[in-house]
Symmetry: C2
Subunit: 237 residues, 2 copies
């Protein structure tokens, strides 16, 4: 089987490992209560995440100098707060809200699945999130990574091929010894194009109950799993 | 106290966390038995490690293009094998010996001390070892790092200040929020020069029983500890 050579699993993080939308809504609603706000945090989370692809595209095109994801999240937040009618937060409160991305909560199967997978494989992030964000998130959610790999280390964002190649290079492995695990088909296709193995994990609730993603997997993917426990099962962990 | 701000501990690895000399001697002596060799592996280990500083200096001066530590270890090994009269090893055997650096064993207090320290601090490597080497070592020895930071990520070797600065930058911290833990005074002085906090840990046996290092710590260091358990105690872990 083509996946027998796999030594390391590299995980997309936002949406694949952690529930960014649900986490932002939960923290935002607490802020509504403590600060007397009436923000629709589901819309806020969607708008915040909606700035993600365009802001990375600006970096890729060179319209913005290299800016890590914390920086892009802050630029977007500073635009969105007035749009959503939020005023009166002091800098410490804005900073705390900004860092909600460091405190995202895992999907219910994530920690248990990763813990099983770690017995057999090297587990790494391979995320557009910056290193500090990923380290703080792992610390808070007890995600058992062996290594934090990030777009920040090569100053390029996925789906730039250099990011996927960096995972194999830094781990001293051939591309076919590394498998990307992701809930996003574009991410997996870009990884496959440089020779990584690919595992698609369905995360039907990533964008909320009203926006189910396309869960029909590209037949080119090496594995398709319902969640991380199913992935562990399929990989004999 | 000046160390109250510390959020992350960054560890030198070779000699500080793991016993490179004892590990190489133990594996080498097994090779003597299985291959009928008569190599003096203590001398071999010292000679191999002796190539470390000069080979990194060649990279720093630009006499060698960027080469990670695995690469430098292999160049040195290929020179040392004939010097020590070793012949007849096939490529798989030489490769296995080369990768002994990925299998170094921790000092007796390392895992227990790190496990306590990890409850309160972000724990990272900050080593001239390359990422693959450090990941494989951690996996084998169950070293509980939160993040693997390496000279390889900035393509410069300690004591280049860029390496120490990269630890703070990648963790999103100020230099005085990061403490370097090391058994080597030059390493600590270079870290202190860019604003990191410094903890000296004595490793009297690093170079063997006949070559005790200078254990009189520079008074500029923030902490001096007998081992990692003592360090955990001093840091209230």
């Amino acid at each position: 089987m083509s996946i027998d050579a796999v030594r390391a699993l590299a995980f997309d993080v936002f949406g694949t490992v952690v529930d960014w939308r649900g986490s932002i809504i939960a923290e935002g609603e607490r802020l509504n209560r403590t600060r007397g706000l009436t923000v629709d945090w589901a819309s806020f989370a969607d708008a915040w995440r909606g700035r993600y692809a365009p802001s990375m595209a600006r970096v890729r095109r060179g319209d913005l100098p290299w800016t890590n994801l914390d920086g892009l999240h802050r630029l977007a937040l500073d635009e969105l707060l007035p749009t959503f009618g939020v005023s009166g937060l002091d800098e410490a409160e804005v900073d705390r809200l900004h860092r909600v991305w460091h405190r995202l909560r895992p999907w219910p199967d994530s920690v248990a699945g990763l813990t099983r997978l770690r017995e057999r494989f090297i587990l790494g992030t391979l995320s557009n999130g910056n290193v500090a964000l990923l380290v703080n998130m792992a610390k808070g959610a007890r995600l058992p990574w062996d290594v934090i790999l990030s777009a920040e280390l090569v100053r390029a964002y996925k789906p730039d091929p250099v990011v996927y190649r960096s995972a194999a290079d830094l781990l001293g492995l051939r591309p076919n010894q590394v498998m990307l695990v992701a809930a996003h088909q574009q991410d997996l296709r870009a990884a496959g194009a440089v020779g990584l193995r690919t595992a698609f994990v369905a995360r039907p609730m990533e964008f909320g109950p009203d926006n189910p993603p396309d869960l029909t997997p590209d037949p080119a993917f090496d594995l398709v799993a319902a969640d991380f426990l199913d992935l562990a099962q399929q990989l004999a962990c």
